[in-house]
Symmetry: C3
Subunit: 413 residues, 3 copies
């Protein structure tokens, strides 16, 4: 009656042990740096009263949303939600340290720091989606440590470089979603192996897809909080919430409308993969223009295009990416975060020009170009490092998409 | 080891294809209407700062609460949560359009619009509960499109007709719960077929009932937000939250006390159906009197009566409805939303008279009468339309309570 | 394809029937007391606007967090989440009555009352964790009724006794966590039986452990709200949130670092039990010092020590407790709430001395000593009463860790 966890191949033992020491080392460094450097508690500022509620919504998106969205694989549930948990926690600690360095050793911590930690974690977890089931947790933690440095470099430059002053990306279409997706895809290309194709255990089952819907729906519901949290003006915050809410409804309806075109039997049935992912594309694509007065009609347009393009991406681009470019993208982050992130940037240029206002299109384009460059270069470098930390034997022989490699249970035998 | 989705009968293919075009058509209409009509963003008003948190709680109730509550059927999990997702999103878009028409073509969108969208979606999803597993998604979307028109007609009349000025229904016992339940039951009567009886796949299993508890508990927890969100005064909002919280605790305890009387073995064991549903009746029944100073004693009385009546409804009225009136009510919305909704209206009259104050009992009765009339007439008409959009062959032969009719998965073969 | 619930032994029928009458009696008492005593609605005070959001987070922790955390047992899912639901609701009603008595018959109800109800429920549900699967629901409700009296006695003394004036425990390390754990462990010792060892059904399976992660992660995410809700100053509330958030991240990373040392194969794989529980120890251990300016470095130290000690507790102390002291602790509440609760008190003394300030170490020690004394004496007395309310035959013969004893389903046969 009870389902059991699979068999353990023993090839991951070295990876498992190295992870222990890496995490213990990280704790020692975090304690040393955060205790002896100059950190302080921020004032009760503009953010104080309402931002905490928004923060908790974003927190749910990162740890329940991303975590459960990735539980769709039938033998990789514990790793999906467990490694998501670990990577998110590592990202929080490590972002403090990296942020401290970018602030020249002096850090004032407030609710704003907390949601910046979550955004950095979000970028790492998007990249995790591209690699899900194929690499060890050791490799993932190494990825997170490197990715946050590149992420911070890109975000810091975009916010502080005079050439990009005034660019708009309140919801992080570029800075978070496109960055995380292309970073992960670049790493996945480096780590590509023919073993990733047609792996016996890469697939969902009936109940794991239902667990994944928990993730999807929490992401979908709380996205207006994600996009509006950096905005301190209450009036604009309401605009962002309305735009994001409306675009997400439109993306959901459109994904259901378009998913059936991919039914191999010609029966126009729904594909769970599209529903779990493309419904969210409206939130991603709204990120760069959410604070503009695009109207609910504009929001329906953005959401509908994003939902349709993302669904078609799963039906068409996903295979091309794998076969032509040798990039295996387990969760399809290219279709959920990559393309919709770029679309978000483009929408901001188009609506910025249509509506007038102070948005300068080439600054958006410059940040997009910089984001993609840093993501792809950084992801490639990180992929090489990830390859180096695990022996060729482990990489070749450990079971793919299998929890038993990294999880022990007494009832296993 | 992995559970698979069931077999596909192919009778739903036409329904599936028509749904695609209906949804695409809806997007075209939404874009045209919402882009070219006069919509604007509301001011940062009374609601602005705190209402967003309440809105998110309600949002979770609609999409996680209702969605997972309906996952109890063993072969209909994806449709439960997936169609709930689709219908909710359709309701949001369509409510904008209907609201625009009722506002004579000029709509100011604010957090209040967002939670009104959710309330309209809630009514549709209650009706969905009566029909769960028996009709196609095409029929459900058609239902939502019609239901929101009738819902808005009833709500608009109750709020703007001088005869009903001053009626009280802050939590929507009548306007949302009773309306949604009787609308769905009326449609279910029209769509009744002997095939709905003793269908092999109508039943829960051990894990799907656990998924359903996710829905139950999120609904139960966030109900105080649902009932208090329309109230702008902080003092009264606290009263509503306390009353609702207390009534829900009482309904939960009472449902556990009374459920065992239905055990067929005379062993007084709990029935999961009662726990999933009757525990929530306290929130429904508190809707019309939540803003009165009934005291926590009064709240325990309302919650206890509602919990007991709802549980007994599942034990006794459910069968009568089916056998005498030929109404098949998959989720028992009559016992969760119908009777407790009417009770809520009655409680408001009783407490209004006991406590004095400005509530006029016959206005409550008038709104209740109007609500039931519009729901039953509207539900019957909508049932006829739903019957017309699907061929007799599909209705007769497609598998009931079976996801495979509408969902495709590669691992299915 | 569908999993079924197990067989029913019939030994629980008397327990089931007595529970019905106990719950009905409780409702009669609650209605009488709460209607006729002097209760009123509190003013819209300091707490009003923001506290409601914090309250809802705590509410999720109690009903989803604790409820799903305990679903890990493979045949006891419904009881885990269902009895958690029942006990929580009983605790809310009963706490009103006990609080009324401690307030000499006059109670003003506000958001603060609501979160105090939740804290009392939390203590009971921690104790439930020690007893999970071994006692009937009748015994659990009896436990909750007694425990809340002892809990209130301890909390009231700590807050109002002049000897303890000025003690600090904003997040309840002592008052809630240590109290609940040692109360439950004392009761478990009284109720010990050799049958509790090696029971065939005590164990998790692959999917139930995934349900348990829903509970873990909601507890982990919302813990900053739990610790900060009693604080009315916005600046200090932000400090508490930052400290708790940081300690939880550190506890998570450390639990993952240390769990592998327990792998019986020497392969350093993760143990799901540790991840589900020890990751939370950072929140418990931060409870008494969360409002101090310990810095994020201090928070990482507290979280890391708590996470490591808790994980090692599961690996080492758990067996000793069972074999030497004859205490069977199903969920390991000793490692999650007991030891980290005591650690929390110790950390507050250490940081209080290091940082200076007005905290007096011996007041912390006095409250800790009082808490442990009342918990252990109260738990022992309550254990005797729990033993008395169920016949020796039922206690000896009913199936352990089996839902079918208390739940009926039509599809069972």
């Amino acid at each position: 009656m009870s389902e059991q966890i699979g068999k353990y191949s023993d090839y991951s033992a070295t990876s498992n042990k190295r992870l222990q020491y890496l995490l213990l080392g990280l704790q020692v460094i975090a304690i040393a740096v955060l205790t002896f450097c100059d950190t302080s508690y921020g004032e009760a500022d503009d953010y104080t009263e309402w931002a905490y509620g928004h923060f908790q919504d974003v927190h749910v998106m990162i740890f329940i949303g991303f975590g459960f969205l990735m539980t769709f694989l039938k033998h990789y549930n514990w790793s999906a939600v467990g490694f998501n948990f670990l990577l998110g926690a590592v990202a929080i600690e490590w972002y403090y340290i990296v942020d401290l360095i970018f602030h020249k050793g002096s850090l004032s911590v407030s609710y704003a720091t907390m949601f910046n930690c979550e955004f950095a974690a979000g970028a790492c977890l998007i990249s995790f989606g591209a690699l899900l089931g194929k690499v060890s947790h050791l490799q993932l933690v190494v990825m997170a440590l490197f990715e946050i440095i590149f992420y911070k470099l890109n975000e810091h430059t975009a916010l502080h470089w005079e050439q990009t002053a005034g660019f708009r990306d309140v919801g992080g279409s570029m800075i978070i979603h496109a960055f995380g997706a292309y970073f992960g895809l670049a790493a996945s290309k480096v780590l590509y192996s023919d073993r990733h194709l047609n792996a016996a255990k890469e697939g969902a089952d009936y109940k794991t897809d239902l667990f994944a819907m928990i993730g999807t729906i929490f992401l979908w519901m709380y996205w207006p909080s994600f996009n509006s949290i950096p905005e301190t003006d209450a009036y604009t915050r309401q605009i962002i919430a309305i735009n994001t809410y409306t675009a997400l409804a439109a993306a959901c309806v459109t994904a259901f409308a378009v998913t059936g075109f991919g039914d191999k039997h010609g029966s126009a049935r729904f594909d769970m993969v599209h529903i779990q992912n493309a419904t969210l594309a409206g939130g991603v694509a709204m990120g760069s223009s959410a604070d503009m007065k695009i109207g609910i009609g504009g929001a329906v347009i953005i959401g509908s295009i994003a939902g349709a393009v993302s669904t078609l991406g799963y039906q068409m681009i996903h295979e091309i990416l794998l076969e032509k470019l040798k990039i295996h993208d387990t969760c399809g982050v290219h279709n959920l975060h990559g393309i919709p992130g770029i679309l978000g940037s483009v929408f901001s240029m188009v609506f910025g020009m249509v509506l007038g206002g102070d948005l300068i299109w080439w600054k958006q384009a410059l940040v997009l170009w910089m984001t993609l460059s840093i993501a792809i270069v950084g992801g490639t470098i990180t992929g090489w490092v990830m390859k180096a930390v695990v022996s060729a034997e482990e990489a070749d022989k450990k079971e793919l998409f299998e929890d038993a490699e990294h999880w022990e249970k007494e009832h296993e035998e």
